[in-house]
């Protein structure tokens, strides 16, 4: 068990949670809650893998994943923004639909097939920093670097730019934003679709980087839902999402590594000698999510931060509302 390797693997698989959470942050900041992340991720994983295998070009696969996730999110947008249907249920429907579509189209894709790989990058100077170098900057996929890049970019976009100000206005006070000439509907459509595209990209990260190949129902295993929880824990801030994503993913990774050795410092490893105990390890990441949700909720009450005020409330022009 090499600690640096485990942490590096945690960062790689944490990119899945990070990208999906960043997408959901954008969507929710505009006042739309999309619980279909799991479904969009699933379809993105399939599209990314299948298209990159078919075309032989991983970049086209990534574009396909972006489009697939965005297309599902567009459906959510039409139903919830256009028709003003319940956002929570629409998100659940999206998860069911996405799971179904991915399983149907993925039928017959054999396990063990590995598509073309995305390049990995080692940053020359940064990689030589002790600990941080090997964990963050050695042989990491381009998508991991995209994650590093998107956190400050999205953070700056939301807090320090004019379009970001409009985004927050639409999510907090759509009536006021509308009065100032911001097109509430158009922005909500745009950010919902952008969030879906990022969820699709997160899915492609699973099927093309973290565990390359098509693993049918085992592909997402609840990571979409973890990402939704992560957004709440992160209090809609990209930087906190990054910390949470890497933390949860490292624990997930650790539960796999703990099953390997026969003993720890002379004490027999119970997860090795009695296999069924490993199922308790499998529970750990999900229990951890519940735990950090409790911590996050307590802190949010103390600091008086909350969800965007108009989150989940359809905007109807000309009606009294938020």
């Amino acid at each position: 068990m090499n600690l640096e390797l485990i942490l590096a693997a945690g960062v790689t698989s944490g990119t899945v949670l990070l990208l999906a959470a960043l997408g959901e942050i954008l969507t929710e900041r505009s006042g739309v809650i999309n619980l279909g992340v799991e479904g969009m991720m699933f379809v993105g994983a399939l599209a990314g893998f299948k298209v990159s295998v078919d075309t032989g070009d991983p970049w086209i696969g990534l574009v396909a994943a972006l489009i697939a996730g965005g297309a599902l999110a567009a459906l959510h947008a039409i139903v919830t923004i256009g028709f003003q249907a319940d956002q929570i249920v629409s998100g659940l429907a999206l998860t069911l639909l996405g799971t179904g579509v991915a399983l149907v189209l993925g039928e017959g894709l054999a396990g063990g097939m590995v598509g073309p790989r995305l390049p990995t990058i080692t940053l020359p100077l940064l990689a030589s920093i002790p600990v941080i170098g090997p964990v963050f900057f050695t042989d990491q996929s381009v998508l991991v670097y995209l994650g590093y890049l998107l956190v400050p970019v999205i953070g700056y976009w939301i807090s320090h730019t004019r379009p970001g100000l409009h985004l927050r206005a639409v999510g907090e006070q759509p009536t006021a934003a509308d009065a100032l000439g911001v097109n509430v509907y158009r922005l909500r459509y745009a950010y919902t679709i952008a969030g879906g595209a990022l969820a699709g990209l997160a899915g492609a990260t699973i099927s093309m980087v973290v565990s390359p190949g098509w693993n049918s129902t085992q592909t997402t295993s609840g990571q979409g839902w973890i990402a939704v929880g992560l957004v709440i824990f992160a209090q809609w801030s990209p930087l906190r999402a990054l910390i949470g994503a890497y933390l949860i993913a490292t624990i997930r990774r650790l539960t796999i590594d703990l099953q390997g050795p026969t003993d720890f410092f002379g004490i027999p490893n119970p997860f090795f000698t009695y296999q069924p105990y490993t199922f308790f390890l499998d529970m750990l990441p999900y229990a951890l999510v519940i735990f950090i949700m409790v911590l996050g909720a307590r802190e949010a009450i103390k600091r008086r931060v909350g969800a965007p005020a108009a989150l989940g409330i359809p905007y109807v022009r000309g009606e009294r509302g938020m």
Binding site: A85, I88, S90, G100, V228, Q275, F279
Partner: protein, 370 residues
């Protein structure tokens, strides 16, 4: 699409205008549900055709293999039984706008509780079924209620989003079942427990074939009767009791409920306990009435289908029974439908259509002269 007419000049002398309805005519919910189902079937058929299947053959297959004769109808009711319970569990929680997405996990815990009665050896083999079955029911319901109650308590005490906690608890429950069927309760290393003794089986119609020969081969079991009783109970609770009034008021207007002095936290925990208990009954009924042992993956997502059913029924307990039979047919026929994702896909489409129809029926469309 929006309530306000567009500002663009129309070329036609009249245009369509959507207005918000001030009141809902009695026929409208039925019409919108009917239209939603029709559109959902159409879209599903279209999708099946796009991926290269034959939609007519698929639907015909669903029809004959689910309602073709009394025997397959009995099989359909068997499949509907756990769905009625999970559908009721979701409908009750959703009525208060508590998003219990964890019926699947609560169902698994219910099945585990019922199995524990049999497999832990607390009740010696050969005990009368009149002791076995009530004990299994009690233990299964309690375990399901506990699993739902955890999420309810976290919501009431710490304001933790129940959607996430119930979902995470689903995954934990799944691993919990796996631990027991791979580990302590495994039969010869297989991922299932030994078969339960006959006394721990819920009686089926076919068990009475000696008295009524026509019942031979009919597998519908006592759990279906319990499910119908549960539907009446939920209806009575919501419509005829003070608690039910509080639950509905919190669902419609939590602020008004708080000003009326209703303890929301306590109701949250209560509803999650009841909802979890109902889902736990589903697991108990499936284990005791059909599978007769605990095994990995015995539920093809009954808990999630419960969400769709609750919406299709507009949270009406008797509507839940009807919708469950419809979905029972889908699941029964779906066992042979390939690829495996089609049932989930159809469920997603149905749910989309139902909520869209609901949203659109808030408006009336009028022709107006320009």
């Amino acid at each position: 699409m929006t309530a306000v007419p567009g500002h663009r000049r129309s070329l036609l002398p009249f245009r369509l205008r959507a207005e918000r309805r001030l009141d809902t005519p009695r026929w409208l919910p039925f019409a919108s549900t009917g239209a939603a189902i029709a559109v959902a079937l159409l879209l599903s058929g279209l999708l099946i055709a796009i991926i290269g299947g034959d939609p007519f053959a698929t639907f015909e297959h669903i029809g004959t293999s689910a309602f073709g004769d009394l025997y397959v109808l009995s099989d359909t009711l068997v499949k509907a039984t756990p769905l009625i319970f999970t559908g009721l569990a979701c409908a009750l929680a959703f009525r208060m706008r508590m998003w219990n997405i964890g019926a699947e996990g609560q169902l698994l815990l219910g099945a585990w509780g019922a199995s524990a009665v049999v497999l832990s050896g607390v009740v010696p083999a050969g005990t009368s079924p009149f002791i076995y079955v009530p004990l299994m029911m009690l233990c299964g319901t309690l375990c399901g209620a506990l699993w739902g109650g955890i999420a309810g308590w976290l919501k009431a005490r710490f304001h933790v989003n129940e959607i996430i906690t119930t979902l995470m608890l689903n995954y934990i429950a799944l691993s919990w079942i796996k631990f027991w069927v791979f580990g302590p309760w495994s039969e010869g290393g297989f991922q299932m427990t030994p078969q339960f003794p006959r006394e721990a089986w819920l009686p089926r119609l076919t068990d009475f074939a000696k008295m009524v020969p026509d019942f031979g081969g009919m597998t519908v079991h006592l759990g279906f009767v319990f499910a119908l009783v549960a539907a009446v109970f939920v209806w009575w609770l919501l419509k005829r009791t003070r608690k039910g009034y509080e639950i509905r008021l919190i669902g419609d207007n939590p602020r008004a409920a708080r000003y009326a002095g209703i303890d929301i936290g306590r109701n949250v925990i209560l509803v999650m306990l009841l909802s979890g208990g109902l889902a736990g009954m589903a697991g108990m009924a499936e284990i005791g009435g059909v599978v007769h042992r605990l095994q990995d993956g015995f539920s093809p997502g009954y808990g999630f289908t419960g969400v769709v059913i609750a919406y299709l029924a507009k949270f009406n307990p008797f509507g839940v029974v009807l919708a469950s039979i419809l979905f029972g047919a889908l699941i029964l026929a779906g066992r042979e439908i390939q690829p495996a994702g089609i049932p989930a896909m159809i469920q997603g489409i149905v749910l989309f259509c139902v909520i869209t129809a609901d949203a659109l029926s808030r408006y009336r469309v009028r022709l107006v002269r320009t």
